[in-house]
Amino acid sequence: MIPEIGHFALILALLIALLQGVLPIVGAARGIGPWMDLARPAAKAQAMFVTLAFGCLMWSFYVSDFSVQNVASNSNSLLPWYYKLSATWGSHEGSILLWTLMLAWWTSLVAFFSRHLPREMVARVIGTLGLVSAGFILFTLTTSDPFDRLFPAAPEGRDLNPLLQDPGMIFHPPMLYMGYVGFAVPFAFAIAALMGGRLDAAWARWTRPWTTMAWVFLTLGIALGSWWAYYELGWGGWWFWDPVENASFMPWLTGTALVHSLAVTEKRGSFKTWTVLLAIITFSMSLLGTFLVRSGVLTSVHAFATDPERGVFILGFLIFVIGSSLLLFAWRAPKVGLGGKFANVSRESMLLMNNVLLVVAMGAVFLGTMYPLFLDAIAGTKISVGPPYFDAVFAPLMAPLVFLMGVGPLSRWKEAKIPDLATRLRWAAVVAVVTAVLVPVVLGRWSWIVSGGLLLAFWIVASAVVNVREHIRNVRGSLLTRLASQPRAFWGMNLAHLGVAIFIIGVTLVKGYETERDVRMAVGDVVSVGGFTFKFEGVQEVQGPNYVAARGTFDVSKNGRFIEKLYPEKRSYLSNRAMPMTEAAIDSSIIGDIYVSLGEPVGGDAWTVRAYYKPFVTWIWWGCVAMALGGLVALSDRRYRFARRREASAAKAAVTA
């Protein structure tokens, strides 16, 4: 009964989404008030029904109802309850429903927090979101119904892929989807601006918090995925340039560009058309990512099914959304106008350069991800583009971007002077160069890569310090009051930039100083890695809730002093004996990770073993966390709250007048 309720709720949600997509937009075009006012209640009702549908599916997973096809293929009665619940999005069908759910929630958030916006704007934004929503619900119902029944019911479920039985599965997909789908909101704002032909500073101020919020979620989602891959896949990499990862990285790159171009549109009124285009591109990248991951064109752990029908639907939807948006853009963009002028050297021009670099980087990722697919589809030639390509492209593209990260925030809007900037930043440059040369010497081995990476990181830090000092120089009071005098948006920006510095330090030191050894070890054997000594004590069999594991014991010591024991495992899940799983044992600390994982038994009591030392690897993820925190701090800036209050009272005054 419960699955049928879910199915029915989803059908109702589709009907409401269609109403929400058509009436308010038509109403806004024709000036029919009641139709426009339908937008908000429709959005809330749609969210309610989608939530109900999702809840029903979750319930079926929770009670292990194996008469539901999706539950039978992706869950198992032996799973702990939290993995049963997260198995809801462990399948293709479930994750598309999660997509829809996130979209419905974002839409209802817009409905709740848009009281201060003009009526037409709200109608158009929510209407656009309704159309996107309708497309996705239709996709779910026609090609990937998660509520399909199975006759007769299966006695036992086939189990969730063991790779996905991990806390990462609980947090990574919802977080990532919140980000992906969140970019639908700036997209809808952009479409609404094109429809209405109105795009001003107020528009940018409304759009900005939504964009930042989506960006925060996407940043955290990607970082979580990277961390998960690092500890779960058992070979210590943190980014593989896998097409699935690239699919989430492309909207991140253009989303980051969008966050910056919105700043210009809000403060200076420039970049208007470009901002709109960027919002369209970013959401298109989100859709493209969904297509890549969900259509089965890539086959990896994320592609749960290979079903051409689905691929064709998403591709068609993708072409429709992107095509109609770009058409609308071409038709209406001239109305939106270009905005303020600026000189060749100015904060605007530097942010423009930032945007160009980020978009080129996205293009490079796009080429490396899509070209092999195109070539295969057209000529049947099988090629691959590996990490060396992306590494070769990214360093030279990111270096100027990071340089601008130091200069940009200190330059004036409209026109900046190079000599002036050079004087203000000379000490920052000196500090960055000196530390970049000295730190690798202190760490023991000097290399160009390490020095170059650290130069970029310290440049960000030093120039941010200069920036903060200049801002509080003319404020009176204690240091604390002087610091508190600055708006949250300022601190948010600096924190996010600092996050980039932390990230760069992590990447650089791991690349420069990591030690990886794959060795054969018999009981009692000793191997030394990165100054640590690993002694293999043997392997025992242990029993888990739904698996058995061979558990190795390693004594780790440094300079003859015992540090700890590490217990990596090789698991074999009861439901799926053919698929062993490597569980690495990691001792993580702020200065580096000690990483051991078991390979396979190679006769006698010997095993092949991976013993790694990864200095500062956690800084990679902490850097992302700092970036996301920076976004949150910027979001809490008072000008959003006050502006909203001001506009609300203005709207009220207009109504009473």
Binding site: T381, G386, D518, G599
Partner: protein, 147 residues
């Protein structure tokens, strides 16, 4: 007049930056493209010498030999085989009789020196390249029989 010059300088500068970036991307792309060859193609000397490529098919039953972390095995598309040697730990799903893709270079003695061995995250899953290689070999054999 001056404003127009400025704008022109800016556009030209922007184009130059984009041009350099695109050139960089394209050259890196050219250098790092890795082509796929089936064991039959390798046997027919179609694979490049001295440049990395991928080879894939099935791991031949009984061909896996281990010596510490050194592994050697044979990849077959059911028509021809390629001998592969690899130093390191193989992925969890590497098994005799299952699909595999290896990336590396051909050695002087015709052994494929792999730097990377890929087997995907699902035991029923066959790497598309490996499936393709086996399929091609079957087709070739069929057409031989017809003749």
């Amino acid at each position: 007049m001056k404003a127009r010059h400025k704008r022109l300088a800016m556009i030209l500068g922007g184009l130059a930056v984009i041009g350099v970036a695109v050139a960089l991307v394209m050259s890196a792309f050219q250098q790092n493209l890795v082509f796929f060859f089936s064991p039959s193609q390798v046997a027919a000397n179609e694979a490049p010498k001295g440049r990395a490529f991928r080879v894939g098919g099935l791991v031949e039953e009984g061909s896996v030999k281990r010596d510490g972390v050194m592994v050697s095995f044979r990849v077959t598309d059911t028509a021809h085989v390629v001998k592969v040697s690899y130093s390191g730990i193989l992925p969890d799903l590497f098994k005799e009789g299952k699909g595999v893709v290896a990336q590396g270079k051909l050695g002087a003695d015709g052994t494929f020196m792999a730097t990377e061995v890929l087997a995907k995250h699902d035991e029923n899953y066959m790497p598309p390249e490996a499936a393709h290689a086996v399929e091609q070999a079957h087709k070739a054999q069929k057409s031989l029989k017809v003749q």
